[in-house]
């Protein structure tokens, strides 16, 4: 472990890390130059060979996604970069954009070349003012240096990069919600098919990728597919759908730890290692009761599951939805899971876009039930009801349009399964962690 050298975060906190000048001094845009000398299909193949899977949450193999674009399409083809980073406790994209925007932009340029796109849109969440300023300046530098624009390096390749600020909603991170929002509409996720690769932004073929995915693409072009594959976890033979989890990953650590932050490590590290070796241990000398493995929509690891490897396959084995954004949130043993779950439910009820009946009404109902439990008016059958409502929504059962509702359901299902006795005790002792009036205020 001690020999691991960060690559994605290598330039973070270096003086003037955002400037094109220092970026070039560190070998920046050599990968892009290399790509321009290759056939686009070879760039795609290199990304495929690396085993890179998307860092936005779903972990879809990046090279494979790119091949879903229609062959010999006359264009335009768009690359839409998902910089909405709206999953709670996730901030790896922000660090890349704020500290090393050119690494991200180089990945974008390489990806556009590979998929024959002349236009990339970066969809940035509104709250990220610093990222906005850093990216804006970096994009201007690229235009001035002839890295973006017409006929780049005399190769005939044209590229425009547009930076777009959203208006702040979780659902704008869902790829088709993002596309709708980019088109100037309400971010209501689209029904699929057609998938964006066939019909996306402005009804044209579109690839949606995450910021960290772009940084990985840049590193793969620089260092090769084998380098990327030398790290991480190979496919799990007992799971035919697992494509392996290779490469470095940015893990965010937050919650009840002594040293929150973002660290780069090979995929497959465990939550315990993250807490103890990188997060300075649980704060105040306490123990972890639960850990969110990768954004709250993934559910919870219980204290006995902290040795689960945080790769794309691991969290699923202990009943979590997946790795998600690899942002762990540590919950110490002084914290009520009822309060935690209430907070989750409030988030999803607030963020449900409201299209699908099960998600619109289900998330709000779960929020109300948890508010009632916190008012001391819970009954044990409420737990079964919560579980039933949670199980009725999502793209996994097929009852909703997008994955927000799976994410809304998972913490509920995990918490009731893994912490049921705590909920029962809470209900039976008629405990109240909140004055009834406050609980109601939180619902309405």
């Amino acid at each position: 472990m001690s020999t691991f050298e960060p690559t994605l975060l290598a330039r973070i906190n270096k003086p003037d890390s955002q400037s094109l000048e220092t970026y070039r001094r560190d070998g920046g845009y050599e990968g892009f130059k290399k790509a321009l000398g290759m056939a686009p299909v070879d760039v795609i193949n290199q990304v495929k060979d690396s085993g890179l899977r998307g860092r936005g949450g779903a972990g879809f193999p990046t090279g494979l996604k790119w091949t879903f674009l229609p062959k010999d399409h006359p264009g335009p083809i768009y690359l839409a970069i998902n910089a909405d980073e709206s999953e709670p406790a996730t901030f790896n994209n922000r660090i890349l954009m704020e500290q090393d925007p050119h690494q991200v932009l180089e990945g974008i340029a390489i990806s556009c070349y590979a998929i024959k796109s002349k236009k990339a849109y970066i969809y940035l969440r509104y709250e990220y003012g610093r990222s906005y300023r850093a990216l804006k300046k970096a994009i201007e530098e690229c235009y001035a240096a002839g890295l973006f624009g017409q006929n780049i390096h005399g190769t005939g390749f044209d590229l425009d990069v547009v930076l777009h600020r959203g208006a702040a909603a979780y659902i704008c991170g869902e790829e088709t919600g993002l596309i709708e929002s980019l088109e100037g509409k309400r971010a209501w996720p689209r029904i699929k098919p057609p998938f964006p690769a066939i019909e996306g932004l402005f009804r044209k073929p579109t690839i949606v990728n995450n910021i960290e995915t772009m940084a990985c693409v840049k590193q793969i072009l620089d260092r090769g597919a084998d380098w990327f594959k030398s790290m991480g976890v190979p496919p799990d033979p007992s799971n035919p759908r697992d494509a392996g989890s290779y490469g470095p990953k940015l893990y965010c650590i937050s919650g009840h730890v002594n040293k929150p932050g973002c660290v780069e490590l090979p995929m497959g590290i465990t939550a315990r290692q993250l807490i103890d070796e990188h997060g300075g241990g649980v704060w105040k000398g306490r123990n972890a009761k639960a850990v969110v493995p990768g954004g709250i929509s993934m559910g919870f690891l219980s204290a006995s599951e902290l040795d689960t490897p945080l790769d794309f396959n691991g969290p699923g084995k202990v009943g979590c939805l997946g790795l998600g954004t690899a942002a762990i949130t540590v919950i110490d043993d002084h914290t009520s899971m009822v309060d935690v779950l209430f907070n989750c439910a409030r988030f999803f009820a607030h963020e449900s876009c409201g299209q699908c009946t099960p998600c619109r009404e289900g998330t709000a109902w779960m929020h109300k039930i948890l508010a009632r439990i916190r008012m001391g008016e819970g009954q044990s059958r409420d737990l079964d009801l919560l579980n039933e409502v949670a199980s009725s929504m999502g793209i996994i059962p097929g009852t909703t349009i997008c994955g927000l509702s799976d994410g809304a359901a998972w913490p509920i299902k995990n918490a009731i399964k893994k912490f049921r006795s705590e909920f029962e005790e809470y209900i039976q002792t008629g405990r109240k962690t909140v004055k009834p009036s406050d609980a109601l205020m939180e619902v309405h």
């Binding site: 909603a169 309400r186 029904i191 009820a349 607030h350 963020e351 449900s352 876009c353 409201g354 299209q355 699908c356 009946t357 099960p358 619109r360 009404e361 289900g362 998330t363 709000a364 109902w365 109300k368 039930i369 508010a371 009632r372 009801l385 009725s392 793209i395 996994i396 059962p397 097929g398 009852t399 909703t400 349009i401 619902v443």
Partner: protein, 557 residues
């Protein structure tokens, strides 16, 4: 033929037919409940009422079902598609969706206009659970009576199917309606200061599957279960929208569009929807009269009609060309035929004219773009020609008359004294004659007015025959496109008035009773242009004169 298997029943579909699971199931006689889907609007698949299990029958006969539920509205079928809409899993999903839709629903059915024809009531009864498990307070949302001049919104009854929003974006193109807020706090609203007053606005009330959007005109007027419906055709313009006439105890309460792909499609315009109030106004003629020198001779139908018939028979001695019959394009084919034939029978020299064809502006095409200009493809047209049956009346006149006489010529001839007797069959609710033109009629020796509403002409007529509004009679209208559709007598007119066909039938001294279907057969045998009417019963959707004309020999001359 491609075959789809619905709940174990094989059902064939056309080779190039594009159907979703809901439509395929309907073919098999099964209902997949749905709210947001409407075949004339884009698919959003958001209400999740139509969830089904879908699979595929492989050539080797094995069936592979998908593990997830799928929205039936969004899932196209093809040969071998397997649909299951009655499994435990599907029933549980339907129950869950309904429970969610009812969570915050006020359940104020006793005072809701939609009760009795409500998608929530019907599906809850069929697929829902009998009670709610919600223990917390329901959301409360403010009612909005400002949605449109004719439209009000009971916001908390809304199930967020967005049909109304999509209608204003996709069909009218005017886009007044939108969704505001998010999640469970979502509400339908208009863009501030842009009420939904487009000429197609009333359709959003019909599209609303629940009692959220209501028509102010109909609000609290009737419980729908008292209403009796008859199929009819809107008389508002030459589009000839298929509609239903809803009445109770001879009071007309509302018109609703009736889907007819051959006519207008699924919708109707507000001019037609709300434009029928004249039919129940006190401007109606309600007393048959024979008058001489300002004196009323009789108000008895039998006396008036027999006296009129004798009077007209005596005209045969007069100078040829002095007897003119004007038939308005509001008359039915049957009325035009009865009157034209009668006139020619009593007086072979009678001349026939088409009454004034009222046109207003130009055809009004939808959807509109943001500048108010029509954009393609056209989804609805309100026609400039405001009469329902010019083509039908013309077909009859073409058969009987030797020369074309426009109404202006008739008036001119009246003025210069060459016309002595004028029989006008009216019907235009806006009136067909103004005071200035009516003054010219003073020259006539004999004026007969058969009409719906009192006019400057009826007040000076020697014979006044109070006719019926379209909703009060049986007959045929031929629309702009040559589609002949049946109108049906849905209610009785005011006492003293009579359906025009019956008046003319009796005047002509025909034996038996007026019966539209038999008359159509007679007309078809006489008038080649109307041969398609030989079916007698025109069915729900009407018959096209033009497509029949292709197979029938063309009339000579």
């Amino acid at each position: 033929m491609p075959t789809v298997i619905v709940n174990n029943k094989p059902v064939e579909i056309g080779p190039s037919e594009k159907l979703n699971c809901i439509q395929a199931a309907e073919r098999a006689g099964d209902t997949i409940p749905s709210y947001c889907w409407h075949h004339d609007l884009s698919v959003v698949a958001s209400c999740r009422m139509c969830l089904v299990e879908v699979g595929e029958k492989k050539p080797d006969g094995t069936i592979a079902m998908q593990p997830k539920l799928s929205p039936g509205c969004q899932t196209p079928v093809k040969d071998g598609t397997v649909i299951v809409s009655n499994s435990e899993k599907v029933l549980a999903a339907q129950k869950a969706t309904l429970e969610y839709l009812l969570l915050n629903h006020p359940l104020d059915c006793p005072v809701c206009d939609q009760a009795g024809e409500c998608g929530l009531q019907d599906y809850s009864y069929k697929y829902g659970r009998g009670y709610s498990r919600l223990q917390e307070p329901k959301n409360i949302k403010p009612d909005k009576d400002y949605i449109g001049d004719q439209i009000t919104l009971f916001t908390d009854r809304c199930i967020m199917c967005t049909r109304c929003v999509r209608f204003t974006r996709e069909i009218s193109g005017t886009a007044e309606m939108q969704v505001i807020s998010r999640g469970t706090h979502e509400e339908i609203d208009i863009f501030p200061g842009e009420p939904c007053n487009n000429k197609l606005a009333g359709n959003v009330v019909d599209l609303c599957p629940v009692g959220a959007l209501c028509s102010k005109d109909f609000l609290y007027q009737q419980r729908v279960w008292w209403l009796k419906s008859k199929n009819s055709v809107c008389p508002g313009c030459s589009t000839g929208c298929s509609i239903t006439v809803d009445q109770n105890e001879d009071v007309l309460y509302r018109l609703k569009p009736r889907e007819n792909p051959q006519a207008q499609g699924s919708f109707m315009c507000d001019e037609g929807r709300f434009g029928w109030k004249y039919a129940q106004s006190d401007r109606r003629l309600t007393s048959p009269e024979q008058r001489t020198g300002g004196q009323t001779v009789s108000r008895d139908w039998d006396v008036v009609l027999s006296s009129l018939s004798t009077t007209l028979a005596d005209l045969s001695d007069r100078k040829p060309g002095t007897f003119v019959v004007t038939i308005s394009p509001w008359a039915t084919v049957e009325e035009a035929y009865l009157l034209a034939k009668f006139a020619k029978d009593v007086n072979p020299n009678a001349r026939l004219a088409l009454g004034p064809v009222r046109t207003v502006g130009e055809d009004d095409l939808y959807p509109k773009d943001i500048h108010g200009k029509p954009s393609l493809p056209t989804r609805f047209t309100i026609r400039a020609e405001k009469c329902p049956n010019r083509r039908g009346v013309e077909a009859v006149l073409n058969h009987f008359r030797e020369e074309v006489i426009p109404f202006t010529t008739v008036l001119h001839e009246v003025e210069n004294g060459s016309v002595e007797t004028l029989f006008v069959l009216g019907g235009d609710p806006e009136g067909w004659i103004g005071d200035a033109d009516a003054a010219k009629l003073d020259k006539l020796k004999l004026l007969i007015v058969q009409d719906l509403l009192a006019s400057a002409a009826s007040s000076k007529a020697h014979f006044v025959l109070p006719g019926a509004a379209w909703a009060e009679k049986d007959g045929t209208f031929v629309n702009h496109n040559g589609l002949a559709q049946a109108i049906h007598r849905g209610l009785r007119g005011p006492e003293g008035s009579r359906p025009d066909g019956r008046i003319l039938f009796e005047l002509a001294g025909r034996s038996g009773l007026f019966h539209a279907a038999s008359l159509r057969q007679e007309i078809a045998s006489q008038i080649p242009e109307l041969a398609a009417l030989s079916v007698g019963d025109l069915g729900e959707f009407g018959v096209s004169l033009t497509s029949a004309a292709k197979t029938e020999p063309q009339p000579v001359g």
